[in-house]
């Protein structure tokens, strides 16, 4: 088999890798910016990087989402100097549970669930995963669960906003030639679920 620059499969693979690398870089940057912003409470972070996770999940599938999340956490903590600290464990456990929920929701529900639903599940999973590990490893005190309702409410709202942002980003990206293939291969963008939303009953 002769490799050629015009082989559409290889071209698409290379394109995916490049875009995923860009996504990772952006996610790390968003993570770092968010870390530097003042926050009323240490754990109440908006999770802007999840916009990119949801987008990657819809564009390139679960594996790409996993790669994005894990790379973001690893590189992000390297950058902020928190690697293997308790904060890293929190972030890792939150990320794992969030990604697990998001990918399995998409795989189980397919086009019935949109980016907003996925993002909300991810945000709640992130909150629950962090709190669980915090309770198991760090605080080990039941009073930590006092924070749970506030934590969940905050992530529900941030999850919705991030989901809407991801949907807009998807809509915008899919207009571009570079993502043209995904317009037909995946039914996910806002243009399609306006119709698919109505025929799911």
């Amino acid at each position: 088999m002769t490799s050629s620059a015009v082989d559409p499969v290889q071209l698409e693979q290379a394109r995916q890798r490049v875009f995923l690398a860009l996504f990772i870089a952006l996610a790390v940057a968003l993570n770092a910016v968010e870390y530097l912003l003042p926050s009323p409470l240490p754990w109440f972070r908006f999770g802007l990087a999840n916009i990119l996770t949801v987008t990657a999940l819809y564009l390139y599938g679960p594996r790409a989402a996993w790669t994005l999340v894990l790379s973001r956490i690893l590189i992000g903590s390297l950058l902020l100097g928190t690697l293997f600290s308790p904060g890293f464990l929190l972030s890792l456990s939150g990320g794992l549970l969030a990604t697990l929920l998001m990918t399995s929701a998409l795989q189980c529900l397919g086009s019935r669930i949109g980016p907003v639903g996925v993002s909300v599940l991810g945000a709640l999973g992130h909150a629950a995963g962090q709190l669980l590990i915090a309770w198991l490893l760090i605080v080990q005190h039941p009073s930590i669960w006092l924070m749970l309702p506030f934590f969940l409410l905050f992530s529900l709202i941030s999850g919705m906003i991030n989901g809407l942002a991801a949907d807009m980003l998807l809509e915008f990206l899919l207009k571009h030639e570079a993502f043209a293939r995904h317009r037909t291969s995946r039914q996910c963008c806002s243009a399609t679920h306006q119709t698919s939303g109505s025929d799911v009953t």
Partner: protein, 331 residues
């Protein structure tokens, strides 16, 4: 990498697990209470090795019980009871000699406001007993005979009472001394962060997880309220108050802190708290300052190096030594 996300996940988990396993398990706290010396003793210790903490606390409690057998004037067979009964020179154990030497030093330091020979006086009042009573002047004077700074002579481990019928009572110092010994035992067992609290006679070892211990001082009149907090490490804190043991007759409070001059409860203060390097000195000085009254008491604490204190006067005013202000918060 891209198509095999499972491998990086497993790698990261493995590394995280290894790092976590290598981290020390964190400090744990062991807290135990027991009734020793007729009071509630609580020992708290912080450290990484729980078994070591438990063992050290067990040993400290055992030592406290052993020393109580030596020093208690309520136990007929204790060394102090036998010393009280003795008419001639009497040989005591090393520990008792140490305690008596410190006690005699405190008697001199306080010019007799603290006294080791108030056994008969305390029996007469019977404040903690079933039938407390207010003795007459004659009885008081008789009970005070032979007390004072020169009542005991200590040479090595030989003790001689100047008056043969002097009854020794180590009430104002033995508890602190025993607390100190327990703390020293903990220290020798490798515990560097601990607190021994025997009904308010507190000895601190080190700090509490990198921070000062916060010592609440009981309010002398409002039950359950806090007068002040002290932020301390490596110190001893003892409070003497007229609210600990007392009876009220005809509206007058008769408490257990007697003035050796008069044989009656001292009236100048409601409570005195002393901070010193060791609990035995703090215990004796708190009693002495209480007896001396607010002004002479505070002067005594001010003039001693490494000793600070605070007190509440009989009319409720709050006073403190100059050196304590940085660690003191009034409430």
């Amino acid at each position: 990498m891209f198509n095999r996300p499972l491998i990086p996940i497993l790698l990261i988990l493995l590394v995280a697990l290894l790092v976590w396993l290598r981290q020390p398990g964190g400090e744990s706290m062991v807290s135990r209470t027991a009734l020793v010396m007729g009071t509630l003793v609580e020992i708290k210790a912080y450290g990484e090795d729980r078994d070591r903490l438990e063992g050290a606390i067990d040993a400290a409690f055992a030592e406290m019980v052993r020393l109580e057998q030596l020093f208690s004037s309520h136990l007929a067979e204790s060394e102090i009871s036998r010393l009280s009964a003795a008419t001639g020179p009497f040989a005591v154990s090393r520990e008792t000699a140490d305690l008596l030497a410190l006690g005699i030093r405190m008697v001199r330091l306080s010019a007799g406001a603290f006294d080791l020979g108030l056994g008969r006086l305390k029996d007469l009042w019977d404040i903690s007993g079933e039938n407390p009573q207010i003795p007459g002047e004659q009885a008081l004077r008789r009970a005070l005979q032979g007390t004072g700074p020169d009542a005991l002579l200590l040479e090595g481990q030989q003790v001689r009472k100047q008056a043969p019928d002097l009854q020794i009572d180590l009430g104002g110092i033995a508890k602190g001394f025993i607390v100190d010994r327990a703390a020293e035992l903990l220290l020798r067992a490798g515990v560097s962060s601990a607190a021994v609290n025997a009904g308010g006679d507190i000895r601190l070892l080190g700090d509490r997880q990198g921070q000062d211990w916060r010592i609440g001082i009981h309010h002398p009149r409002e039950s359950g309220a806090i007068l002040a907090t002290l932020n301390l490490r490596n110190r001893a804190v003892v409070t003497s108050g007229d609210y600990e043991r007392f009876f009220v007759r005809d509206g007058v409070r008769y408490h257990h802190l007697f003035d050796p001059q008069t044989g009656r409860p001292a009236r100048g203060c409601q409570s005195v708290t002393v901070v010193a390097a060791d609990a035995a000195s703090a215990d004796a000085l708190a009693t002495a300052a209480f007896v001396l009254g607010p002004h002479r008491g505070l002067d005594l604490l001010e003039q001693l190096p490494d000793v600070e204190g605070l007190l509440v006067t009989a009319d409720g005013r709050r006073l403190a030594t100059a050196g304590i202000e940085s660690v003191l918060e009034w409430h």
